[in-house]
């Protein structure tokens, strides 16, 4: 006996919930007390008149029962003497692409539902593209509501033909079309429907019982991400994790990625004992012969087939957040057990999930799918998703809200990091600053438009200059006239604006200068990204804290008035957010202190 995890795709109208409800009912997974509840519910919410409404067995949350739609991923369980099943039941509407991807990520097979009266629809194609992208290889096309088309063989074969022609490029290993009626129970459990004698194939349940469930990773070379280092005392050190591919045996020569250190497997601990071998899918603890260092996120692999590491990738990305993805913004990522910082460097194209067309895109919105280039802040052991799901899948996490904002699948590593070597120069930053008898610094002013950033920055530079310091000021408006004149004020452009200025500031600091940057820089994530470019102590965040009402009252450039009239879009504080710093090095409350005193405060800090 084994377990098959499968996903059902289709909308409420296709009879998906009815189909699953019937599978549960027919496999005796519905108990008497639940049946009583179902009878009562059928009367109250049912759409089937006096008959039992099986859909009510699976629509769980009260809110969605009232709305009559399924809005999340539900997991159902049933079993036959041959197999145990876990069904991921997901909604079919386009706005739930993320839920379908979630359900498909752990499934080995898919049941794709179509309405016999409607045939292959746009949504059938959309669902097929998603499950193909997530790596599902076996599909049953359940042509439902055959009772409503007079059990017509012709209709069924036409739909099957259409679907096979459409799906030929999606990489499915097998497609099985089955004519069914979920409502009447034809070809669901038993095959050989009296109404459809022309169909001689398997029933849906028979297909589910026989479709291959074993992941292909078992036959590959050994790879296991280290999940947890088990060190209960000085005498024992084991590396715990779930084997991603292949088989481990004592004596096997292994290599750790990314360190490249080699050793041999001394002992395999499974549960409370030792095992002579363990294979893909098992949670084990490996004890190695040598005392070597490996930590969470490293991968132990067969020495003959070490796992590659890289920090730049091409990948498919499904965006799951209401908040759009601007390229360049730093996110947190988790790939197998390895945590890293991630940013999307380039959106190659967005996939129109309905038509399959490739579209140009500057940002990525909720439920959109794209092929992107991405960059990590450290090398990560990986494998292409197509070869190994566990080593090629990753999630993207918003660092501010901590929500899971995206899910990705690695295609391959980009070799950029290997080809572009850092040119080591003999005259160092310290040497340049020494010559100027100063310490190179980046003073980053952030605050609302009209808060007084430029005024204070200007005063400060004059004072520094008078002191014989070498300075340079990067002003938001000025830079937008040259270097950044191709950028607008959308969130994506603002992120890129700050990224470029951050890099320029870094070069100037490298040249030994004291750089003053006066930019609204509304987003915390970008300011943190810029901070990470500098060495500790080099970056000084100056929060010019002037309340919005005061900025608007001053309105030096008349911009607030314009924004209020709707003539200026994406204006910070009006229709675009400002995220104040949480722990700035210097906090200037301009309502309480004059600009001259503000400059003094900064000078004091620089001298100390």
């Amino acid at each position: 006996m084994d377990t098959l995890r499968f996903i059902t795709c289709g909308s409420v109208d296709d009879g998906k919930s009815t189909l699953i409800g019937r599978l549960l009912y027919e496999t005796k997974l519905v108990f008497e007390d639940q049946l009583e509840a179902l009878k009562a519910d059928s009367k109250k919410f049912g759409t089937q008149g006096e008959r039992l409404d099986f859909a009510l067995l699976v629509d769980g949350l009260q809110a969605e029962r009232e709305q009559g739609i399924t809005i999340d991923v539900a997991h159902r369980f049933f079993a036959t003497p041959r197999r145990r099943f876990i069904v991921a039941d997901t909604p079919g509407h386009e706005q739930y692409t993320r839920n379908m991807a979630t359900g498909a990520s752990t499934a080995q097979a898919a049941v794709l539902l179509t309405d016999a009266r409607k045939g292959v629809l746009t949504q059938t194609k959309r669902h097929s593209r998603i499950i193909s992208m997530l790596g599902i290889r076996h599909v049953a096309l359940a042509v439902n509501k055959m009772d409503l088309v007079g059990w017509s063989q012709f209709t069924f074969e036409e739909i099957e033909f259409d679907y096979r022609r459409f799906a030929q490029d999606l990489g499915f290993e097998s497609i099985t079309a089955i004519p069914v009626s979920a409502l009447e129970g034809h070809n669901i459990v038993e095959s050989g429907s009296a109404e459809m004698p022309w169909y001689e194939g398997a029933s849906l349940l028979q297909w589910l019982e026989t479709v291959p469930a074993k992941p292909s990773e078992t036959g590959q070379p050994l790879a296991m991400p280290v999940q947890w280092v088990n060190r209960p005392n000085h005498g024992f050190r084991g590396f715990s994790g779930r084997i991603a591919s292949g088989t481990a045996m004592p004596g096997d020569k292994v290599r750790i990625s990314p360190s490249g250190v080699e050793s041999r497997v001394k002992e395999i601990i499974v549960g409370h004992g030792t095992a002579t071998e363990a294979s893909a899918g098992q949670s084990v603890t490996l004890v190695l012969e040598d005392e070597i260092d490996a930590s969470r996120g490293d991968v132990i692999a067969a020495a003959s087939h070490p796992v590659e590491s890289a920090d730049q990738f091409e990948a498919d990305l499904i965006w799951m957040s209401e908040h759009p993805l601007p390229p360049g913004r730093p996110y947190a990522a988790l790939i197998h057990t390895k945590a890293a910082n991630l940013s999307i460097t380039h959106i190659k194209y967005r996939l129109d999930i309905n038509s399959g067309a490739h579209l140009a895109a500057k940002a990525l919105g909720l439920n959109e799918i794209a092929t992107v280039n991405l960059s990590l802040d450290r090398p990560v052991p990986f494998a292409p998703y197509k070869e190994n799901k566990r080593l090629g899948a990753f999630i993207v996490i918003d660092k501010l809200t901590n929500e899971t904002a995206g899910a990705g699948m690695i295609h391959f590593a980009l070799r950029r990091a290997v080809n572009v070597h850092w040119q080591a120069l003999d005259v160092s930053k310290a040497a340049r600053a020494e010559l100027k008898r100063q310490q190179a610094r980046c003073l980053w002013f952030t605050g609302l438009s009209g808060s007084g950033k430029s005024t204070i920055a200007n005063l400060l530079e004059k004072r520094l200059h008078a002191d014989g310091k070498h300075t340079y000021t990067l002003d938001g408006d000025n830079v937008r006239h040259g270097l950044n004149r191709d950028l607008g004020f959308t969130e994506a452009d603002r992120v890129e604006n700050i990224r470029r200025v951050g890099e320029v500031a870094k070069l100037f600091v490298d040249a030994g200068l004291i750089v003053i940057v006066a930019f609204i820089s509304p987003y915390r994530a970008e300011r943190e990204l810029v901070r990470s470019l500098f060495e500790p102590g080099e970056f000084i965040e100056v929060f010019v804290d002037t309340p919005l009402e005061e900025c608007e009252r001053r309105d030096v450039k008349g911009l607030y008035a314009k924004a209020r009239r709707g003539e200026l879009k994406n204006f910070t504080g009006i229709d675009s957010d400002y995220e104040p710093p949480q722990a700035p090095e210097i906090h200037l409350r301009t309502l309480l202190i004059k600009p001259e005193r503000c400059a003094d405060q900064i000078l004091q800090l620089l001298r100390s």
Partner: protein
């Protein structure tokens, strides 16, 4: 049931338990003394073998658990050697709150839900394991394995994170907590078969024996101590009964059974025609009652 199936179920649960150990600041395992907790405990032992379980186990004691449950709890903690925390809501004790005097809903709210929140806050636990399974109840079918609770322990269906592959996003802000359910994908039949295979010790109340009971609302309620007042016309009798689930004693109904061995229990479970939660009086409080309790912070 065979070895491959258990290897798979075990592997997933152990991966989940280790993921918490690797990422949480201060995890705790909630231990309800029931069969699911017993399985979860065994999996935690396996996850960290040969080391000890690197977090404490906590029992929320409502003061109305069967006496045999408490004895079993203390014995198990000694034998397995884990750190046991027992917590009871002091307000409930001071006000003398119980299921008989205050009704099942209020008792559960104060002595379980409120007590759990108090205990998590008191010790500063950021992640708590629970033994809930998705097959138990309809609203649980949509529960994540890592379930996020906003400050104040509120569960908001809309704020739950998508769970793809085996990649669990465990990042939280101060004040937020996570409930983690390593047994999400186990069924009741899996639990019993695993208990039999692994020979896991369970509370004797799961086995049929002659016990003093009364019939109330059509269900068999066991008389565990003198705190259960008899209604007019109720007569205690001795019956061969056992429990499919265990909770507070006046709230858990027994079933008539002659199953005195694990084999007989497994056979009875596989042939059962009613769901296990039928014996839980809490589920019958009203439509969507479990969903509502969960939003309020019930496990």
């Amino acid at each position: 049931m065979n070895d491959a199936l258990f290897a798979e179920l075990e592997a997933e649960s152990i991966e989940i338990i280790r993921e918490v150990a690797a990422t949480a600041a201060k995890p705790v395992m909630l231990y309800s003394i029931g069969k699911d907790s017993s399985v979860m405990l065994r999996l935690a032992q396996k996850a960290f073998f040969p080391g000890p379980i690197p977090f404490p186990l906590m029992h929320i004691d409502t003061g109305w658990k069967f006496r045999e449950m408490i004895a079993f709890r203390n014995r198990t903690a000694r034998e397995v050697g884990f750190e046991l925390i027992s917590y009871t809501n002091p307000r409930g004790v001071a006000e003398g709150i119980g299921p008989i005097t205050h009704g099942s809903a209020y008792h559960t709210d104060v002595m379980k839900t409120e007590a759990l929140k108090q205990a998590l806050d008191l010790y500063g636990f950021d992640v708590a394991f629970g033994g809930a399974r998705r097959d138990e109840e309809k609203s649980r079918a949509k529960e994540r394995i890592f379930s996020f609770r906003a400050p104040g322990h509120r569960w908001e269906p809309k704020a739950q994170r998508p769970e793809l592959w085996n990649l669990y996003n465990t990042r939280i802000h101060p004040g937020e907590t996570i409930r983690v359910f390593p047994l999400s994908n186990w069924t009741e039949a899996d639990i019993w078969a695993y208990i039999r295979r692994e020979n896991i010790a369970i509370v004797p109340l799961y086995f049929a024996a002659e016990r003093p009971v009364v019939k109330r609302y059509g269900q068999w309620i066991m008389i565990d101590d003198e705190r259960l007042p008899l209604e007019p016309g109720e007569k205690p009798e001795t019956r061969m009964v056992r429990f499919r689930t265990l909770g507070c004693y006046p709230l858990s109904a027994a079933i008539e059974s002659s199953a005195t061995t694990l084999d007989e229990i497994v056979a009875e479970t596989l042939g059962a025609t009613t769901s296990e939660r039928q014996g839980r009086i809490i589920d019958h409080d009203g439509a969507g009652s479990m969903e509502r309790k969960k939003q309020e912070g019930y496990f």
